[in-house]
């Protein structure tokens, strides 16, 4: 058994108006990775390359030990995939889809499928085209979960779901991880969800991975330092300061390499540290993207 469920090495893909460059990604087996990026950043393209639906121009992709896209049929036997732009067959019922999947996947769990239908409040006899968006998303998730996949690949799994449904979906995702051999990769705009349940987090912007690390490391590394400067004071120059905001005498430094020693360093340089704020994942992501884009245009 490999240590990594997914491995991207030097992967790139070039389109006329967009390119994915030098993507390097490692997803340890048994963990859950949140994939955050703006619209058009390359999340969907990366996920499609992972599934073998799009062939990379350069680089190697290994999923569950299989080389993609060549070995995609074998790999997909163990993968559950749900994406935002995927639709089930409208003219058929959820039950039809369940009956269709059952003989295909050896680990299909019919009892679990029916239990999920109850929990997600879905009626298997109903035609897909008559379902609301949220119900369709849940149906697709049900079909992906019931095959007990070793890898779950989800593109925006909670987008468009009401808060109760979101909670149920997050519960089911965490239940998947109760088995140490199962892995989840999901992309999401919902940074709260990502922050809560992810073990690893990867940021992608304009076709490049701009940061990838353990979630706790992210949350530890990033801080906002609120300073008060004396009348003639100057903003202290510290390593790892990514952004300087605030007003003249009340600067706010955003840093991605925080250490407690920074506080005393600021004080030594004449700036009183009024507060050291932690940052939410959303704030970290936005600061990360801003500083990177500024550096590129500077």
């Amino acid at each position: 058994m490999s240590d990594f469920s997914v491995q991207f090495e030097g992967v790139s893909k070039r389109y006329t108006h967009f390119s994915l460059e030098n993507i390097h990604l490692e997803l340890p087996t048994g963990s859950i990775m949140g994939f955050i990026g703006a619209n058009g950043a390359g999340k969907s393209t990366t996920i499609r390359i992972l599934m073998g639906l799009v062939h990379q121009d350069t680089g190697t992709v290994r999923v569950l030990g299989h080389s993609m896209p060549g070995d995609q049929a074998a790999a997909k036997l163990d993968i559950g995939f749900v994406s935002e732009d995927m639709r089930l067959y409208g003219a058929a019922t959820l039950k039809w889809h369940m009956d269709f999947m059952r003989p295909i996947y050896p680990r299909w769990d019919q009892t679990y499928a029916e239990e999920l239908a109850r929990r997600f409040d879905l009626k298997p006899q109903q035609k897909i085209k008559g379902l609301s968006h949220g119900q369709r998303v849940k149906s697709a998730l049900l079909l992906a979960l019931a095959r007990r996949p070793r890898l779950l690949v989800l593109d925006e799994p909670t987008t468009g779901l009401d808060p109760v449904a979101r909670m149920e979906v997050l519960s089911e995702l965490m239940a998947v991880l109760a088995d140490e051999d199962r892995t989840i990769l999901f992309s999401s705009h919902n940074t709260l969800d990502v922050e809560q349940i992810s073990d690893q987090i990867t940021f992608i912007d304009r076709g490049r991975i701009i940061d990838s690390d353990d979630k706790e490391v992210f949350l530890d590394r990033w801080r906002r330092l609120r300073l008060v400067l004396p009348p003639d004071g100057v903003v202290p120059r510290l390593p790892g300061v990514v952004e300087v905001g605030g007003s003249g005498r009340l600067p706010v430094l955003t840093t991605n390499r925080f250490e407690p020693a920074m506080v005393s360093a600021c004080n030594d340089l004449g700036a009183t540290v009024q507060a050291v704020d932690t940052m939410t994942l959303e704030e970290i992501f936005v600061a990360n993207v801003h500083s990177r884009r500024e550096r590129l245009t500077a």
């Binding site: 963990s31 859950i32 909670m167 997050l170 519960s171 965490m174 239940a175 991880l177 109760a178 140490e180 709260l192 809560q196 349940i197 992810s198 073990d199 690893q200 353990d214 979630k215 706790e216 949350l219 009024q274 507060a275 932690t278």
Partner: protein, 140 residues
Amino acid sequence: MHSDIVISQSDGRPMYLQIMEQVKQRVAVGEWAPGDEIPSIRQLAMDLRVSVITIKRAYLELEREGVILTQQGKGSIIAPNPGLSPHVYHAELSERLDEVVRLGDLLGLSSDEIARRTKEAANRLNEARLNEAGFTKEIV
């Protein structure tokens, strides 16, 4: 064993700290006795819908502080001698009090007023606790 730990999303502190605090509280209050089994890392992750890595971190810190013991392949238990070192709490209290005084100073409050506000906060906490238990009582 189902945990009754509840985490609050609006609590600004890191999640692993919240979890640590609740474990310690349970030990302090006696709900979890020394030697008792506590939920496995994955079980707790599932219950709380929180990432495994966060639970791991909380448990690691708790072990370092001597509150719990993790046995290889057998899960975790409350340490026979949970060194709920009060100095950990004292250090945090001092830090917070410094911050309170600083903010009060910014607002132009006198030290008496700051002390009064502190007492009001203590009242609020007691009231909330008693409400939970079904009483209402004010401590002056």
